[in-house]
C-alpha cells in the first residue's frame, strides 16, 4: 500500500512538471490563432453563375491570362522556362490547369479583379507608390465584369481535375512549389530536378536554379525557406492557419495568402508529412509502436511472475 502512495507522489510531480513545461509554458510562446476553416470571409461572395465556354474565350482572349500563364490541360504551353519567367515576373506564374480544383472560387474571383487584395500583399504592392503586383488586374472586357470573372472561374473549374483527384503532391507543387524548395522531395522552385548523365549539365541546371532563386529573393525580399522538415518544425495548427492567412502570424510578410480550399490545405499538409516524416505518414510508427507495446506488456507480466515466485520465500 505504502508503495502505491510513493508511486502516486512520483507520478504526481512528474506529470505536474510535464504539464507546466509543455502544454502550459510552451503554449505561451506563440500567440493563439483561430482557424476560420478557409472560408475567406473578408472576400465578397460570388453571386453570378459562370459559363465555362464564355470563360474560355475570355481567358484566351480579352482576359489575356494565357499571355503569362500556361494551361497545359487545354493545350497552352509555357512561353518561357521557369528561370526566365522568374526573371521577368519575380516568380514563375503558375500553370492554370488545376487552379480551379485547388483554389477557392471566391479567392480566384477576387484574385482576377484585384490580385494584391486577394493575396493580402497590398502593403507591398501599392499602386499609389508605383509598386504594381506583377499580375495585372482584369479590368473587364466590356460586358458585366462580375459575369465575365465568374465565366473565367467556371472555365478554370471545368478544365481542372475533380477536387477529389487532386493529390497531395499536386496541391503542394501548385500552391507552394514555385517559391519553396523541398529538397527531400528532390524539388526546387524550378520543379523536380531531372537526372543528368553529365556533371556539367547538372551544374548548368543548378546555376539556373540559383538564378531563379536570385529573382525570387529580389521579389520576396528573402529566399522562402525549404519546407522539407516543416512538418516537424511547426505544428499542424500553426501551418494550417499560416497557409490560411500568413499575415495573421507574421504581419507584413511578403508571403501571399495562397487561397487554397480547406481540402487543398489538408493535402499540402499531408504532403509535408509524407516528405518530412514518412514513418509517421505511412503508419510504420503506429504499427511498430503497437508491437513494441505488446512485447513490453508480456515482458512486464513475466517479470511480475518471476518476482512473485522469488519473493514467495522472502515474506
Amino acid at each position: 500500500m505504502k508503495e502505491f502512495i510513493v508511486l502516486g507522489v512520483v507520478v504526481f510531480f512528474s506529470v505536474l512538471t510535464y504539464w507546466l513545461v509543455e502544454p502550459f509554458a510552451h503554449g505561451q510562446m506563440h500567440k493563439h490563432v483561430d482557424s476560420h476553416q478557409f472560408q475567406y470571409a473578408d472576400l465578397p461572395a460570388v453571386t453570378k453563375q459562370g459559363d465555362a465556354t464564355a470563360g474560355k474565350d475570355l481567358v484566351m482572349g480579352a482576359g489575356a491570362c494565357s499571355g503569362c500563364h500556361s494551361i497545359e490541360a487545354d493545350g497552352v504551353p509555357a512561353m518561357m522556362e521557369p528561370d526566365m519567367a522568374a526573371a521577368s515576373y519575380g516568380v514563375n506564374p503558375p500553370d492554370l490547369s488545376n487552379a480551379g480544383a485547388i483554389y477557392d472560387a471566391k479567392f480566384l474571383t477576387d484574385l482576377i479583379k484585384n490580385p494584391a487584395h486577394a493575396l493580402k500583399v497590398e502593403h507591398k504592392f501599392d499602386p499609389a507608390s508605383g509598386a504594381m503586383h506583377p499580375m495585372v488586374p482584369f479590368y473587364g472586357a466590356g460586358g458585366d465584369m462580375d459575369q465575365e470573372v465568374a465565366d473565367m472561374v467556371a472555365y478554370l473549374q471545368s478544365i481542372a481535375v475533380k477536387p477529389s483527384e487532386v493529390t497531395s503532391k499536386m496541391a503542394f507543387e501548385n500552391a507552394c512549389g514555385r517559391c519553396h524548395a523541398m529538397k527531400y522531395a528532390n524539388w526546387t522552385q524550378m520543379g523536380e530536378t531531372p537526372n543528368f548523365k553529365y556533371k556539367k549539365d547538372a551544374l548548368r541546371y543548378e546555376a539556373r536554379v540559383l538564378d531563379y532563386q536570385d529573382s525570387l529573393k529580389k521579389y520576396m525580399g528573402k529566399l522562402p525557406p525549404d519546407l522539407s522538415m516543416y512538418t516537424r518544425s511547426r505544428n499542424h495548427h500553426f501551418l494550417s492557419t499560416f497557409i490560411e492567412d500568413p499575415q495573421v502570424h507574421l504581419a507584413g510578410t511578403a508571403m501571399p495568402r495562397v487561397g487554397v480550399t480547406a481540402d487543398g490545405a489538408d493535402k499540402v499538409l499531408t504532403y509535408l508529412e509524407e516528405i518530412g516524416d514518412p514513418s509517421k505518414a505511412n503508419g510504420d510508427r503506429d504499427r511498430i509502436g503497437m508491437y513494441v507495446m505488446i512485447f513490453s506488456l508480456i515482458f512486464a507480466i513475466f517479470a511480475y511472475l518471476w518476482k512473485r515466485e522469488i519473493w514467495k520465500d522472502l515474506h
Binding site: K2, E3, V6, L7, V10, F13, S14, L16, T17, Y18, L20, V21, E22, F24, A25, H26, Q28, M29, K183, Y184, P225, S228, M229, Y230, R232, S233, R234, N235, G276, D277, P278, S279, D284, R285, D286, I288, G289, V292, M293, S296, L297, F299, A300, A303, Y304, W306, K307, E309, I310, W311, D313, L314, H315
Partner: protein
C-alpha cells in the same frame, strides 16, 4: 605456472581461470540488500537500462551520422530518418531516452535526499552521483549539438558564451572552446568527439565508482534502520529468509528491479512512439542558421531550473548564482549537519526544507520556459532567491535537529 586440474564442466573450467563462482557470490548471491525498500530503489537499475538503451541506439546512429556542418542536418533528418531501415526508430529511442534519463536521475536524486542516503559513509555515492549528473548534462548538451539545427547552433552559442565569465569578457576562452569565433565545423567535430568518446568513457568510469562506493556502506532502507549485515546474512543463509532483514542482490532484488524496469519500458516506449515532442524540440528541425536567431531560445526541460537561476539577475550576479546552483548539490552531505540518516518525514524542519526545495525547483523549471515578461520575471526572481536562500539555510535548519 600454477597447478590446474582437468575441469569436469564448462562452469568449472571458467571458475578455475576467472573465479566465476567467487564473483557470483560476491556480486550477486551474497551481495546484501535491505528488504525494507520500495520501487524507488530500482531507479539505479532503470538508469542502467536507460544508459544501455542510449549506448546501443547511439551505436546504430553513429553508423550513419555525419559530423559535418553541411551534411549533419540531412544525415539525421533524411538519411537516418528516411533512408535507413528503422533509422527513425533508433533516433526516436535515442532522443526520448536522453530526455527521460534526466527524469529518472531527478527521481533517483530526490529519493536520495528524502531518505538521507548521502550521509554516514555514503558521501562518495552522493558525490559520484552528482558527478554523473554533470557528465550526463555534458553528454546531453554535446549530443544536442549534433543534428545541427537552430537550437543546436544557438544553444551552443549561448552556453559557450557563459565561459566569457560576464564582465571579465574572457572572449579568448570562448573562441578556444569553439575553435572559431562562432559555432562552426571545428565546434561540431569536437562536440561530436566529446559526445561519442570522452564523456561516455567518463560516464562508464563514474558508474563503476558509483556502484563500488555502494558496496561498503550498503544500500539505505526505507526507515534508515541500521542493520547488522553479518547477523542478517547468517539468518538468510541458514534458510530463514522470511525473518532476515536482508535479501540477495540476485535474484531477489533483481527480480523486483526487472519488474519495475518492465513497467518503465511500457511508459518509455509510449513516449517514443506517440509523445516525443517534449524530447525533440520543433525548433531544432530548422537547419542551423547563424543569421537568424529563433524567437525563443530555451534549454531542454531538465536544464530549465538552473537556467532560471541565471536569468532573473544581472549578468555577473546571474553567473555567480548559476555557478552556485551547479555545485551546491555536491556539498549536500556536509551542509546537512544533522546526525540522522532517516526519511525526511521523521526529521523535523528538514521535512519542510525538502518539499519546498522540490516544489521550488518545479516552479523554476516552469519559469525557465515561460517568456521572461511581466509577472514571470518576479516569480522567477523570488524562486531563484528562495533556492539560494534554502541552501544557505540548510546547515541551520539541520543543526538543531534531535537525534532520532
Amino acid at each position: 605456472m600454477a597447478h590446474f586440474e582437468k575441469a569436469n564442466s564448462i562452469g568449472e573450467w571458467f571458475d578455475q581461470r576467472l573465479a566465476t563462482k567467487t564473483l557470483e557470490r560476491v556480486l550477486a548471491k551474497e551481495y546484501w540488500i535491505p528488504k525494507d525498500i520500495n520501487f524507488l530503489w530500482a531507479m539505479g537499475m532503470v538508469l542502467a537500462i536507460t544508459f544501455g538503451i542510449l549506448l546501443v541506439s547511439g551505436i546504430f546512429l553513429l553508423m550513419y551520422y555525419q559530423p559535418n556542418v553541411d551534411t549533419a542536418f540531412d544525415s539525421v533528418n533524411y538519411t537516418i530518418m528516411q533512408e535507413v531501415g528503422f533509422g527513425w526508430l533508433w533516433r526516436h529511442v535515442h532522443a526520448v531516452a536522453a530526455s527521460v534519463v534526466f527524469l529518472i536521475i531527478y527521481i533517483h536524486m530526490f529519493t536520495g535526499i528524502y531518505y538521507g542516503s548521502y550521509k554516514k559513509g555514503r558521501e562518495i555515492i552522493w558525490v559520484s552521483g552528482m558527478l554523473l549528473f554533470v557528465a550526463f548534462s555534458a553528454e546531453a548538451f554535446s549530443g544536442y549539438m549534433l543534428p545541427w539545427g537552430q537550437m543546436s547552433y544557438w544553444a551552443g552559442m549561448v552556453i559557450t558564451n557563459l565561459f566569457s565569465m560576464g564582465s571579465l569578457e574572457m572572449n579568448g576562452v570562448v573562441e578556444w572552446i569553439r575553435g572559431d569565433y562562432v559555432p562552426g565545423q571545428a565546434f561540431l567535430t569536437r562536440f561530436f568527439m566529446l559526445h561519442v568518446l570522452l564523456i561516455p568513457v567518463a560516464i562508464l568510469a563514474l558508474i563503476g565508482i558509483h556502484f563500488g562506493a555502494l558496496r561498503i556502506p550498503h544500500v539505505n532502507n526505507q526507515n534508515g534502520e541500521e542493520l547488522d549485515y553479518e547477523v542478517e546474512a547468517e539468518k538468510y543463509k541458514s534458510g530463514n529468509k522470511a525473518a532476515s532483514k536482508v535479501i540477495a542482490f540476485a535474484n531477489d532484488f533483481m527480480s523486483k528491479d526487472m519488474f519495475v524496469v518492465a513497467v518503465y519500458l511500457i511508459f518509455f516506449f509510449y513516449l517514443t512512439f506517440w509523445n516525443y515532442s517534449f524530447a525533440m524540440d520543433p525548433v531544432n528541425f530548422d537547419p542551423a542558421d547563424g543569421l537568424k536567431t529563433p524567437a525563443h531560445i530555451y534549454p531542454e526541460w531538465y536544464f530549465l531550473w538552473s537556467y532560471e537561476i541565471l536569468r532573473p539577475f544581472s549578468k555577473d550576479i546571474g553567473l555567480l548564482a548559476f555557478a552556485f546552483a551547479q555545485v551546491i548539490f555536491v556539498l549536500l552531505p556536509w551542509l546537512d549537519r544533522s546526525p540522522n540518516a532517516v526519511p525526511a518525514s521523521r526529521r523535523g524542519l528538514f521535512k519542510y526544507w525538502f518539499w519546498i526545495m522540490l516544489a521550488n525547483m518545479i516552479v523554476l523549471t516552469t519559469m525557465g520556459k515561460l517568456p521572461p515578461e511581466g509577472i514571470n520575471n518576479t516569480i522567477g526572481l523570488v524562486s531563484a532567491l528562495l533556492f539560494i536562500g534554502q541552501w544557505l539555510a540548510l546547515p541551520f535548519v539541520t543543526m538543531f535537529e534531535k537525534k532520532v
